[in-house]
């Protein structure tokens, strides 16, 4: 009986071993269980034993050779047995160092003779036949599907700027099915995302005529959309919402006294008692700008910017941005160094800013130098506006309309001119209690408007 001596598997993780030493010479008699050689695995030196009794007829591996598990290294057989088939051409598979990776992948003695151990993908398939087809062929492109897709650029991505239009998956699917180019649709979802209702509204307004052909035509004519400004707004607002953990504080401010002061101030401007260019008029927003600047003096932590690694920089000068609506978006340039300026100067400058913003003639520090932003939709009758912080600033104040409201003063219900303000602030830079102090200082200033004039 011929018993092949192989490099033994000595553990679940062993792939090869070194033959350290033969303990038998060719021609020695061996007993089953007798130690015949010493090998070295990556864990330890171990002895290997004869599985059968007989004569150690042939050593097929030299001491020092690295041999893969299962590789033939010697022959035990009867003294007279014919072992000529091992005499030549049957050298063991000596593992060269370069071949390590390969041997690890393809151990010679696999317990899996068919070589078809299940892959996870196959295992998940219901039937064997399907599994083979799926694992052996890469999915072919589906031509009929490709035709129905816009071919130039993937829908939902702008061509040039790299800013991504947000389109919800379901909106994208319905748009594709209806042949609508989503780039022509304005999103009304969170962060300007185009959502299902936007597509449905577009379908309603466009009626049935928006056949796929028309859709393709339209997509060919929309090379200018979205505008650079839209892209910038989308990018910056998304960045803000993504990176800045906003907290929000809302407060009612009694603007009755501020309105009276504003009237008196404007009368003084008109009469020339306060020097200013002709036609200068102070708005509620101008008062708000100055009040904010003075409050920032007290709470400089809100007059700040934050960079990517969270470093907060407080600025010595209050550059208060005012959000200005434009035809195709909005921009928020800064009135620079506000606390050093009078209400009249602020009024002049902000009017100038609005004019230049609409004409596209803003200067760099006005665009980039802001330290705080006010956004005010009071003119539209909006009651509460909760703004999104303009990065890298750390706070924005939203202001609503000033409107008469019944409030309780000294136990009596009275009508006062009230304004709702909302502070959105970056929690990385400040905490709610500081925000509350800021708002309460703002309230104090606006409710004692003389402080804005002096």
């Amino acid at each position: 009986m011929i018993s092949e001596v192989v490099m033994p598997q000595m553990g679940a993780d062993m792939t090869e071993g070194t033959l350290v030493k033969w303990l038998k010479s060719e021609g020695d008699a061996v007993e089953r269980g007798e130690i015949i050689a010493e090998i070295e695995t990556d864990k330890a030196n171990v002895e290997i034993e004869a599985f059968e009794s007989g004569v150690f007829r042939k050593a097929l591996a030299e001491e020092g050779a690295v041999i893969e598990v299962g590789g033939l290294i010697g022959i035990i057989a009867g003294a007279e047995e014919d072992i000529s088939k091992y005499e030549n051409g049957s050298a063991p598979s000596i593992v060269s160092r370069e071949a390590d990776a390969k041997t690890a992948e393809l151990p010679q003695t696999s317990s899996d003779p068919t070589g078809d151990a299940p892959t996870k993908a196959e295992a998940r398939m219901e039937t064997g036949a399907g599994a083979e087809a799926a694992s052996n062929t890469s999915p072919a492109p589906q031509p009929d599907k490709a035709v129905s897709l816009p071919t130039a650029t993937p829908s939902g991505r702008s061509g040039a700027g790299g800013a991504r239009q947000r389109v919800s998956p379901v909106a994208r699917r319905i748009a594709e099915e209806a042949g609508i180019d989503v780039r022509t649709i304005e999103g009304t979802g969170p962060d300007g995302r185009v959502i299902k209702r936007d597509i449905e509204n577009a379908l309603k307004s466009g009626g049935q005529s928006q056949a796929p052909a028309r859709g393709q035509q339209r997509s060919a004519t929309t090379t200018t959309a979205p505008s650079k400004m839209r892209q910038a707004i989308a990018r910056r607002m998304s960045q803000s919402k993504r990176e800045a953990p906003h907290y929000y504080l809302l407060l009612d401010i009694d603007m009755t006294a501020a309105r009276e002061t504003r009237a008196q101030y404007n009368a003084a401007l008109a009469s020339g008692d306060i020097a200013a260019p002709p036609e200068t008029k102070v708005s509620i927003n101008d008062m708000l700008v100055r009040a904010v600047a003075l409050a920032l003096r007290k709470q400089p932590e809100f007059n700040a910017t934050i960079d990517g690694d969270g470093t907060v920089t407080e600025h010595p000068q209050e550059n208060v941005c005012i959000a200005i609506a434009l035809d195709d978006g909005l921009i928020a340039p800064a009135v620079l160094d506000v606390s050093a300026k009078s209400l009249a100067e602020i009024a002049v400058e902000s009017a100038d800013l609005v004019a230049r913003a609409k004409g596209g003639r803003l200067r760099a520090p006005e665009i980039n130098g802001g330290t705080f932003t006010i956004t005010n939709l009071g003119a539209y009758g909006v009651e509460t506006l909760i703004g999104i912080i303009q990065p890298p600033q750390t706070a924005v104040l939203g202001a609503g309309t000033v409107m008469p409201q019944a409030v309780v003063r000294e136990g009596q219900v009275v009508v006062r001119q009230m304004m709702k303000v909302a502070l959105s602030a970056d929690h990385r830079a400040t905490d709610g209690a500081q925000g509350a102090q800021f708002l309460s200082e703002l309230k104090r200033l606006l409710e004692s408007p003389l402080l804005l004039v002096v």
């Binding site: 192989v6 598997q9 000595m10 089953r32 330890a44 030196n45 598990v69 299962g70 899996d112």
Partner: protein
């Protein structure tokens, strides 16, 4: 409760048949040697824990039990499976991971199971099977049968929390369970003396758990048989659990990957002189109960059974891939 009670199994023979005990020990020994060879040849994968040296315990204990007494064991359980009468071919096929294995290639060396023979499994978390023995015993107590549960574990288990929990519950509820600690002196490569406060394990038991405990020579198959017969009888009477500590030695490493640097060769050779097969053979020869011809015939018989088992395993098919997700849950389709 009558419909819950199982039919009583065959009563264990009161007097052991020493030739049968010898044959079983030889079968286990030769089976394990073949398994080692098949592991070295890469036919068997994963972990392989050999029972060589401890054969007297599985052979002696299981022969002293009824066929329907539950067995739960640790992961060094090929010997117990064979002693309980699981077919050697199907056990070897399980080690090969083949469809014809006792658990269809799902369990492997450490999880041999055949519930039709009340062989309730090999378990690979040290001491993790001890609570199961309590549960099996509890069920029989609940049903009112006289079946008992027998739990085999190593010395490594005795410092686990589950050991303590199981012994305590068994004693408190007087469960019909026999705990057999096979103390082979090493938990993997750690000498039991290095990690146990009380080295003589059986001495912990009476005081801590109010349970009868005895130490037995685990290299003497007749002593094992006697101790287990007596314990089983007592448990079957309803007198509560019994603990037996069997002192033994495994001649091979913990698993195939073990280079055995933690014990020296002199120690191994001392124990090899106490080889249970050698001891019984010499005793029977001296008594005139075993002739050379009979021994030769036993040897070749066992050789043939084991070679057939290896051939059966090697020729058996791999389990089909479609069966991958079968038996995760038992559902109507299963039944």
């Amino acid at each position: 409760m009558s419909q819950l009670a199982n039919k009583p199994g065959h009563a264990a023979e009161t007097a052991p048949d020493p030739i049968e005990l010898l044959r079983m020990m030889m079968l286990i020994r030769r089976f394990e040697e073949k398994a080692a060879e098949m592991y070295a040849r890469g036919k068997i994968k994963g972990f392989l824990h050999l029972y060589i040296g401890q054969e007297a315990i599985a052979a002696g204990a299981i022969a002293a039990l009824r066929d329907d007494d539950y067995l739960v064991t640790s992961y060094r359980e090929h010997g117990h499976a064979l002693a309980r009468g699981l077919e050697p071919g199907r056990v070897m096929a399980e080690l090969f991971g083949r469809e014809t294995g006792v658990t269809g290639g799902r369990g492997g060396s450490m999880h041999l199971i055949d519930s039709s023979k009340a062989f309730m499994g090999g378990y690979a978390i040290v001491a993790g099977h001890m609570p199961l023995a309590c549960g099996l015993a509890l069920a029989e107590q609940y049903k009112g049968t006289d079946r008992i549960a027998v739990c085999f574990f190593g010395d490594g288990a005795v410092n686990e929390g589950e050991f303590h929990e199981a012994l305590n519950l068994a004693s408190v509820w007087k469960l019909p369970v026999l705990f057999i600690c096979e103390n082979n002196l090493y938990g993997m490569g750690t000498d039991v003396r290095r990690v146990s406060a009380v080295i003589e394990i059986y001495k912990r038991v009476p005081e801590a758990y109010a349970m009868q405990a005895t130490q037995v020579d685990g290299m003497d198959v007749l002593a094992v048989h006697d101790a287990v017969s007596e314990a089983a009888e007592r448990i079957r009477r309803g007198d509560g659990p019994v603990f037996l500590e069997m002192i033994c030695y495994r001649f091979r490493g913990h698993s195939m990957a073990d280079a055995e640097h933690y014990r020296d060769k002199d120690e191994i050779s001392v124990w090899r002189n106490l080889d249970p097969i050698k001891q019984l053979t010499e005793k029977l020869r001296a008594d005139g109960g075993l002739q050379d011809a009979q021994l030769d015939s036993l040897t070749s018989d066992v050789e043939g059974v084991v070679n057939d088992a290896a051939r059966f395993a090697d020729e058996s098919p791999e389990p089909p891939l479609e069966s991958l997700r079968l038996h995760v849950y038992k559902d109507a389709a299963d039944a």
